[in-house]
C-alpha cells in the first residue's frame, strides 16, 4: 500500500503497531477485547478424516514401469496400435458437439438447465461448455467451477452463458439474475459481460445482480472489481457497491457504510443530466457529506464533472486526502492519468497498475509506428 506521510490518518495507522502485529506499545483497549473474545477462539480439536484419502491419479508412465520388458513392451505397442486404429476409424466421421474446454457445473437446488437438459441433483460429471447457456428458475440454483478460476454460484431466476475459457481469459455473460463469484485466478482473468457494463475481477469475491431491464448492481466483499463500459470505469473495493444502467454504464461507486444523504446524492447524480440543477445539488451534497473514507467516490467524480465542478471536487478531495507527492492541482484538473493513478494508489484500495494491465490486454494499443488501416483522404 502506498502511504501518504502527510495524511494524519496514515500517521495514526503507522502508530497502530499493536493492532497490526501486536508489537509496540500495547493498546489496553485491544488487549481487553482480545481477552474477552478469547472464549470464541478455536480449540485444539482434531480433524477427523476418512481412512482412505483420495490419491492423485497415477501417471501413465508409472503404470508402465512394471511392464518394462521387451516382450511386454512389444505386446503393449501392438495393442496400442490396434486400439488407436480402431478409435481413428470409428470416431473420425462422427461430429463431436460436446468437446473443448468446459467448466464443472453442479446442481445446488431444484432443476437448473443447460439448454434443454436439466442437471440432476446427484449428477457429478456435468459440464458447461463455451456457447452453452445455464438457466435457473425461481426454485433452482447451480454452481460453476473451474480449477484455475474459482467458483461462481448462480442464484434463482438467472441466465448465464459461457463465452470464453482459455489460459488468459474466462468470460461469462450474465443476461439476468444474480451470481456470487469467489475467484482465485490472477487479476483481470475473469470477466462478466452484462447488458450495461463489463465486470472485471481484480482478485476478489463479489455479488453481481442484473435486473430484467439490464441495469445492474455490484457489491464487493473482498479485493476489488473493475466495472467498465465505453471508456467509463468504476473501481469497487471491498465494502463498496456500484450501480450500472443500460447505455450509461457504471455509476459512482460508494462504500456501503456511507451516510444515507451521501448515498442519495450519488443516486441523484447518476440519474441526472449534465448541467442540470439536480446535478449541481447532488454534487454539492456529496461534497458536504463526504468523509475521508468517501474519497473513493470523489476520485471517480473527478472524471464525470465539468471543469468548474472539478475544481470544487478537487478542493474537497484534497482536504480529505492530501494529494501525494507528484500530484498537482493543474494536473488533476487536466485529468492527468499518471497523477490520478498516483492519487488512487494513495487511497490503499488496490494497485491501479492491475487495471492498466487489464486495459492493455483487452484493448491493445497499436505500436507507435503502425500505419492506420484506413487513411483519411
Amino acid at each position: 500500500m502506498t502511504k501518504n506521510p502527510t495524511n494524519p490518518e496514515n500517521e495514526k495507522m503507522l502508530n497502530e503497531d499493536y493492532l497490526w502485529d501486536a508489537s509496540g506499545t500495547p493498546d489496553l483497549e485491544i488487549q481487553r477485547l482480545e481477552s474477552l473474545l478469547s472464549e470464541f477462539r478455536q480449540t485444539d480439536r482434531a480433524l477427523v478424516l476418512p481412512a482412505e484419502l483420495p490419491a492423485a491419479p497415477r501417471k501413465f508412465h508409472a503404470l508402465l514401469i512394471p511392464m518394462l520388458t521387451l516382450p511386454h513392451l512389444a505386446a503393449a505397442a501392438v495393442i496400442l496400435l490396434a486400439a488407436g486404429l480402431t478409435l481413428f476409424f470409428f470416431t473420425r466421421p462422427k461430429p463431436a458437439p460436446e468437446t473443448g474446454p468446459a467448466w464443472d457445473v453442479a446442481n445446488l437446488q431444484g432443476a437448473p438447465q443447460i439448454g434443454t437438459k436439466a442437471i440432476a441433483a446427484n449428477q457429478t460429471a456435468a459440464k458447461f461448455r463455451v456457447g452453452q447457456t445455464l438457466v435457473t428458475n425461481n426454485d433452482s440454483r447451480a454452481s460453476l467451477s473451474e480449477a484455475d478460476l474459482g467458483e461462481i454460484r448462480i442464484d434463482p431466476n438467472s441466465r448465464v452463458r459461457l463465452v470464453q475459457t482459455d489460459a488468459n481469459r474466462k468470460r461469462i455473460q450474465l443476461d439476468v439474475g444474480t451470481i456470487h463469484a469467489a475467484i482465485w485466478a490472477p487479476p483481470g482473468t475473469f470477466v462478466v459481460d452484462t447488458p450495461s457494463a463489463v465486470a472485471i475481477d481484480l482478485g476478489c469475491s463479489y455479488t453481481l445482480h442484473v435486473a430484467p431491464d439490464g441495469s445492474g448492481e455490484l457489491h464487493t466483499t473482498y479485493g476489488w472489481v473493475g466495472f467498465h463500459l465505453l471508456g467509463r470505469d468504476s473501481f469497487i473495493p471491498a465494502g463498496a457497491m456500484c450501480s450500472t444502467r443500460p447505455e450509461q454504464g457504471p455509476g459512482i461507486p460508494y462504500f456501503e457504510d456511507a451516510t444515507p444523504a451521501f448515498r442519495e446524492a450519488i443516486v441523484q447524480f447518476d440519474s441526472s443530466v449534465e448541467n442540470s440543477t439536480d446535478r449541481s445539488a447532488a454534487i454539492a451534497k456529496m461534497l458536504s457529506e463526504a468523509r475521508a473514507h468517501d474519497a473513493l467516490s470523489l476520485w471517480h467524480l473527478l472524471f464525470r464533472v465539468n471543469a468548474a465542478e472539478r475544481s470544487q471536487v478537487y478542493a474537497r478531495f484534497a482536504v480529505l486526502v492530501p494529494p501525494p507527492q507528484g500530484v498537482t492541482r493543474p494536473g488533476i484538473l487536466n485529468l492527468d492519468q499518471s497523477m490520478l493513478d498516483l492519487w488512487w494508489n494513495s487511497l490503499g484500495l488496490g494497485e491501479i497498475s492491475q487495471w492498466r494491465f487489464w486495459q492493455q490486454s483487452a484493448y491493445p494499443q497499436p505500436p507507435p509506428n503502425t500505419q492506420p488501416l484506413l487513411q483519411e483522404k
Binding site: 490518518e9 495514526k12 493492532l19 470464541f40 480433524l47 481412512a51 482465485w184 456501503e256 475521508a292
Partner: protein
Amino acid sequence: MAALSELRSPRPGPPAVNGVQETGGPDDALVRAAQHGDRAAFGLLYARYSRMVHGILLARVPFSEVDDLVQDVFLQALPRLNTLREISRFPGWLASIARNRAIDFHRRTKPTDEFDEESDSAQSGTHAPFANHSSHSSAEAHAILQAIRSLPDAYREPLILRLVEGMTGPEIAARTGLTHGSVRVTLHRGMQQLREILGRKASPPTGGVL
C-alpha cells in the same frame, strides 16, 4: 462405514502471536504432498489454516456451529485438492470454500433457526469455554462479537482473525492471500467502526479515515 482417523493439530498451547509458520516447510510442498494422499501433510495444512477457517466461519455463523463447519470445510477441500492446479493459490481457495460453506449453512437453516448467540448459548449450555468466565464477561463478549458481526463483510473477517483467533496482520495476509496493505486498511477501519459502535471511541477524528 469408513474407518475414521484423527489428525490433531501439532500446535500446542495458545496460537502463536508473531510467528506466521508453526512448523515445517513451505505450504506449497505440503499442498503438493496432500494432493498425492499424504495424510501428515494434510494434517499440517489443517494445523496451519484451521484458525483462519474458524475465523472466517465465526464471522458468519453461530459459534456453536463453527467447530463442525471447520471440519466440513476441510473434508470438502480434501477431495477437491487435485483440482487445484496452481498450488500457491491454496489460501484463497480454502478461504473461498469456507465462505461458501457459511453461505450454504444459512441457506439450509430455517428462518426460525437463525442464530442469536445469547439465547443459543443460554439454552444449549454446550459452550464449555463459558464455564470459565463470569456471566457478565461472557455476555459482554457476546455483545462485542455481535458488534463485529454487524460491521461490513470486509471488516469483520480480519477483525475476528485478529481479535478472536489471535492472528497478526502479516499472518492474516499470508493465510488469506490478501496483501499487507489491504489487511492493514481493513483492520484499521474495522477497529475504528467497532470503537464507534461500542461507544468507546478512543480518539477524536483527525481529518482522515483512509
